[in-house]
Subunit: 340 residues, 2 copies
Amino acid sequence: MAAQRSHVRTSLVALSALLVLSLSAHAQTDPLPSWNDGPAKKAIVEFVQTTTTQGSPQFVPPAERIATFDQDGTLWVEQPMYSQVVYCLDRVPALVKAKPELAKVEPFKTVLTGNLEAIAKLPLPELEKILVATLTGMPVEQFSAEVKAWLAKAQDHRWKRPYTELTYQPMQEVLKYLRDNGYKTYIVTGGGQAFVRVYSEQTYGIPPEQVVGSAGGTKYGYGKDGKPFLTKEPKLLLNDNNAGKPEGIYLMIGRRPYAAFGNSTGDRQMLEYTKAGGGARLAMLVLHDDAKREYAYGPAQGLRDTKVGTFTQVLYDEAKKKGWTVISMKDDWKKIFAFE
Amino acid sequence: MAAQRSHVRTSLVALSALLVLSLSAHAQTDPLPSWNDGPAKKAIVEFVQTTTTQGSPQFVPPAERIATFDQDGTLWVEQPMYSQVVYCLDRVPALVKAKPELAKVEPFKTVLTGNLEAIAKLPLPELEKILVATLTGMPVEQFSAEVKAWLAKAQDHRWKRPYTELTYQPMQEVLKYLRDNGYKTYIVTGGGQAFVRVYSEQTYGIPPEQVVGSAGGTKYGYGKDGKPFLTKEPKLLLNDNNAGKPEGIYLMIGRRPYAAFGNSTGDRQMLEYTKAGGGARLAMLVLHDDAKREYAYGPAQGLRDTKVGTFTQVLYDEAKKKGWTVISMKDDWKKIFAFE
């Protein structure tokens, strides 16, 4: 009987040991398989461990775990043009069909020619007219439906794939890794808040209420049937770029992030503001230095400013000085896209 | 052996039955113990059951479960004056100490007399000067610290308790009941967003990022030490009242609520907008008809508009017509406060 009991006890110990082993094997599964070992990956893993391990001097209570991500150039491709700008240009023919008088008026006339070089040369105030005409003046539900329909058909010219497939796989892993460790992940984009909210949940697992972006006002009114609806107005409430990013974070979230990710000068203040908080803070900049697998621009291309995503040498130097970690797409990422 | 097996089987059946009984007893624990049985309680329970039971034709996916609550007069006492107005008046002496020249200038001069009747008669533009002087012009962290310090000391005159104890226990139960069933609960207040965010988590279990309120802009800048900080600006970005409530919900949440709770004309559009969505939607109005345990005003007091919380007869009639449920504090609530 004693021998039997001891046998049972031994089996239980073995079983427990097995269980512990399998649990820790699970815990040790690489959460960032698309990342090469290096300072960037190390910075992310160390940040998560130090802020989420009970008893760590830099432990962050779950309620305060906020991480913010720029979108264009940080979570998905922004070259040769922001997807939302492509959307606005693509909407022009339908717009002119509804209001034929626009066909003879600039900037719509130029857009209709389809001459990309001429379109690229349109001055900013003219481009703004296109944004106002295609992003405002309709009920919010109609806008969402139009974006959804466009996303289902539109394709990037280089990869011949829907824009929503051009997200960076390594960043998708960071989003998931942070969420698995109790972080609320937010998009904080200079792009249109209403535009990004249409696909954020399906594309990034980020619900609309966790998308902060440049936002226009809406106007509450009633239809002929007496039903209330909201119309998108050409009135800018939040320009979520540069200083607008920390301002937008305060307005929409009300807490300072513990981690922030960007790729251009428009993200500078968000990284700065994040890093200026106490305790462990993570600030990271994606450097586009992989002309082969994606694009090379900014410091990777002789420091010149590019039309979009102006990650300049100045920003690069600031990153080094302020302890932000630069992510080299070429060196730090095993793969760029999920479909590779 | 067969008899033994059958015995084991019987015991297992008995055990399962016990387990089922205890589980269903648990499930049947009243989630709203401070509510009397009646149409209001029934409406809440039926709404939760129909929107959260798998297979129900009105099932709402967890991600879309949004419930919005007005604060003043809906979650806590708003009479005789909004707590935030009391806060602003209470701040005036400290303000004048820092800027002694204000002592001779209206409206500060009147506020310093402490004559409540005279203060109550200040015209709105004068009152606004007090709000601007006490709510803006300082770093956001300083503002939060000042509100926190005030909340720790300030007491309501009637109950001699901190304002944060004057929340309605039945509404606290609704908040918890909805959250337990996968709803994200939001405050959507005409009051200051930054003010309410200071105590929302501790008082209601609602984190700052789920507080939508009237919001001013902030300005990003740098201190002498080079550290960045945000300053509260006297610039209104969102007047979260009336039509501003659905507009604010679109800006800050981006989804239409399935349930909304209010108590005054300032909540009309939020309830209307909520109810205009498809499927099961819950719209409720708290009627202050309990002069003994709290206050009676609005339709309960000869239909007159009151200075705050204008729940008029017009709104009351609209509620009946549009299928909003009126909550009678007198009849529907067993207790008003947790401390009773």
